[in-house]
């Protein structure tokens, strides 16, 4: 029997509480050692609309929400009407028979109507249908009732005992009714594995920053980055982190830079619109040589765009952030775990090379809820602050903040130390910090200082891991990606292999500085290259071509707001290999 891999989708309007059953399922799977990945398609609305949460659970470490739905939970009529067509033989549909009219199912789809009024009693809370649905789902999957009861107790901890008892009673009734009435699900969930932890992408990034010693975090709320602010605010006092919500993103970045200059490891996060406001100050950090870490959680743009949808649309905004030409670090982590493991390194590099670091996340990975093996949660990374002066030494009285060095790195003295007084300036300056525009705008001094700063990029590039090929070296086709598409591409590589297409994968994380030589060599060794991006014009491909002169053979692009599913990529690759058009734009079948 193949391994357990099952997809549950829950649909309802915002305000109907689809988050609660989602959280209950996530905990339930995680506690049994079942891997889980959840993607929530939703809108920028507090009440109404259509939210569609897809939870995939598996014995394997699944990293996408998959291609199919095995169990549909309808919390409203709209969900039944929109998604019944996606259900195929062997699947089940749970719904409240008091309020929802079933549609016409395909052959072999099991309907599980639940008389919520009868089970919960008249006048029961409307949210009780969620408890009923979860209980039926558990029963269909063969999960012991006691496991569900534990999680209900956990989920409603802090609520009244009556409420918890009522939920358990209703769940029990629904569970027993299901056992007596419905056929078990096509797959039964194994239990007893080592418990896993549950996190969201933004929490992973916040935790990583806390572990790396961030002491100052500020933000202006903006979806889909706000989860980082929430985690920081909730943990600030326990972990001694200064967390501020600030009047706008301009103030956010300037406060972070001020705190960084004074000596704190500083971070801020936003989405594309807020990032646009921050850009002038990002150049300032480059000029003043102040380490600051900025996260841009991309969403579909431009302008206000589609606030709750994903896109890889801000690459060039990050590349072009601020006027002028200055050293910077830009990266796009591929998953919550990748971000978690990379962020401490980003803080070290920002400190060592004294420059702004920009992390390009996106809604897909920042918003995902997934399980993680707690053994991977090492929150004691190496902390290396580079050449930082924190107490007076021999050069007191003769210190030069922007001293010329071979590496371009000038030791950085923190304010407060006698004998190291200096001014950092957003104007061009001399090694002493004195502005050149205050004296003469001396071309040789300008050139020397600009070259000093830029020299840092050589050292920085040498510290970054070059790109590699994952998979068969002599593959028929190489899928190229950057950032959040890594895991969906990887799953597609597996699907292609199952149909006899040997594919491999090159994924880019470090955008600036860029390993152009290594990338050119790798790409040139490939038989056929297809690049996968969540945007319209192939933003990364244009950058890659600029840095390497290499042009790929084909493109797979998606820009409808919804993420790629593995089969989108698989089908597009097969089509292109069969002579189809060199640009594929997969059709999104789930309409939310």
């Amino acid at each position: 029997m193949s391994q357990f891999d099952y997809v549950i989708s829950i649909g309802g309007a915002a305000g109907q509480g689809i988050a609660t059953p989602g959280n209950i399922l996530a905990r339930l799977f995680a506690r049994q050692g079942i891997h889980m990945y959840a993607y929530n398609a939703y809108q920028s609305i507090i009440r109404g609309g259509h939210s569609f949460l897809t939870v995939r659970c598996s014995e394997q470490n699944v990293r996408t929400h998959g291609d199919v739905i095995d169990l549909l939970i309808c919390l409203n009529q709209d969900t039944m009407d929109r998604h019944l067509e996606h259900m195929r033989a062997g699947t089940s549909v749970i719904f409240n028979s008091n309020t929802i009219e079933p549609g016409e199912p395909a052959d072999g789809v099991q309907f599980c109507p639940m008389d919520v009024g009868e089970l919960a009693g008249k006048g029961a809370n409307k949210l009780m249908q969620n408890t009923v649905a979860i209980a039926v789902a558990c029963q269909l999957l063969g999960i012991e009732f006691s496991a569900l009861e534990d999680v209900i107790n956990f989920q409603f901890s802090g609520k009244s005992e009556e409420l918890v008892a009522e939920n358990v009673r209703v769940a029990r009734g629904a569970y027993d009714h299901s056992a007596a009435t419905f056929q078990p699900a096509s797959q039964q969930m194994p239990t007893g594995g080592e418990p896993l932890a549950v996190w969201r992408g933004n929490e992973a990034f916040a935790m990583a920053a806390a572990g790396a010693g961030v002491k100052f975090y500020c933000a202006y709320p903006m979806s889909p980055s706000t989860g980082i602010l929430h985690w920081m605010a909730a943990n600030a006092r326990e972990l001694d982190i200064m967390v501020r919500q600030v009047e706008d993103e301009i103030s956010v970045i300037c406060m972070a830079i001020g705190a960084a200059h004074a000596g704190c490891r500083s971070m801020c996060a936003t989405s594309g619109g807020g990032f646009a406001l921050m850009t002038e100050a990002i150049g300032e950090a480059g000029m003043m040589e102040i380490p600051v870490v900025v996260v841009d959680v991309q969403r579909a743009g431009p302008s206000t765009g589609v606030p709750t949808k994903t896109e890889q649309g801000d690459l060039w905004q990050a590349l072009g952030a601020s006027q002028g030409d200055f050293p910077k670090l830009i990266l796009a982590p591929s998953s919550p775990l990748d971000g978690f493991q990379t962020i401490p390194e980003v803080f070290n590099l920002a400190d060592k090379y004294q420059l702004p670091a920009m992390i390009l996340s996106d809604l897909l990975i920042s918003d995902e809820t997934s399980t993680i093996d707690p053994k991977l949660l090492d929150m004691h990374p190496i902390i290396d602050r580079g050449e930082l002066i924190t107490e007076a030494g021999d050069d007191a009285g003769s210190y030069e903040r922007y001293k010329f060095t071979d590496s371009g790195i000038s030791p950085r003295a923190l304010p407060g130390i006698p004998g190291y007084e200096h001014v950092v300036a957003s104007d061009e300056h001399m090694p002493s910090g004195v502005l050149i525009s205050d004296e003469f705008t001396h071309p040789h001094k300008r050139r020397a200082m600009l070259e000093k700063r830029q020299r840092k990029m050589d050292g920085l590039l040498a510290e970054l891991a070059p790109p590699v090929i994952v998979g068969a070296p002599d593959a028929e086709v190489t899928l190229v990606g950057w950032g959040s598409t890594a895991d969906v591409i990887q799953e597609s590589v597996g699907q292609l292999s199952a149909v006899g297409v040997v594919a491999n994968h090159i994924h880019f994380k470090w955008m600036v500085p860029f390993h152009a030589d290594e990338a050119t060599e790798l790409l040139s060794s490939c038989k056929r290259t297809i690049i996968v991006e969540n945007n319209y014009t192939g933003l990364f491909h244009r950058y890659l071509r600029g840095e390497t002169g290499f042009t790929v053979d084909g493109h797979i692009r998606k820009y409808d707001g919804e993420p790629f599913k593995p089969h989108h990529i698989t089908a597009a690759v097969q089509d292109q290999l069969a002579g189809g058009e060199a640009i594929s734009v997969p059709y999104e079948e789930i309409i939310v």
């Binding site: 996190w199 200059h261 304010p415 190291y420 300036a425």
Partner: protein, 297 residues
Amino acid sequence: MSDTNVEFSLKPKDFKGKVDPDWCPGCGDFGVLSGLQRAVAELGFQPHQILTISGIGCSSNFPGFFNSYGMHTLHGRSLPHASGAKLANHEMNVIVTGGDGDGYGIGGNHFTHTSRRNLNILYIVMDNQIYGLTTGQISPTSEVGMKTKSTPFGSIELPVNPIASAITAGATWVARGYTGNMKQLTRLMIEGMQHNGFALLDVFSPCVTFNKVNTYQFFKQRVQPLEDLDHDSSDWKEAIEKAMVWGEVIHTGLFFKTDARLTLEEQEPVLDEGGPLAYRELGLSKEETELIVSRMM
């Protein structure tokens, strides 16, 4: 954070920066610079204990002319930089210097919000009612009717009232100085620094090159120190009333002061013990990480 144990007092000239000011001869900003040098010497500060932060503009070149730690930041953004720096190292004496365009125009949003946050910062605005560095356009404090290169037919916009704005926004110490009265100005600087909270010191600092209206002569005829009147600076209503006076008489001195509000630093438990955040050990303890992970299970 290391500190010197040697007790000695410095003279104003010890706070002279690495370069001499490049302001126009006769600029009011010279008075602000010498006043602050005198004030910090009198308070017994040493250069490494002070962080001066500015934005962009003629007066924002200030940190370069003053011997202390300094940040010469972006146009309009001095206050957020200063707020971040102060929260990172609340033992530093943070002084923000800049002009009226920088502070009340492009930085107006930050001015309002920094006022209500009540960080322990002294904000000195060299208010010359004109844009100097861009060679003479109206500023947010220019009077109605003022003719400049950008308003050849006279300004038709009402000027902002920084004193009244700061009071209503929540600043806890609000005063106005004038570079034609150095004794008063220096005293206000000392008091502003001694105040525990956000202190705004708006200073009439005439631009002799581009502002031919608000000249030394103009102010000499009008300024009236509040200390010569029976003004109660603890009464915000009276303070607002005095702030609204503009015409034959313009008041200088301390308009408003309250000690009734805690500073942001005092309200942040993260700063209660352990010294400045900037100098603390980094990294989490085993107990802290175990707690974080346990909440995820």
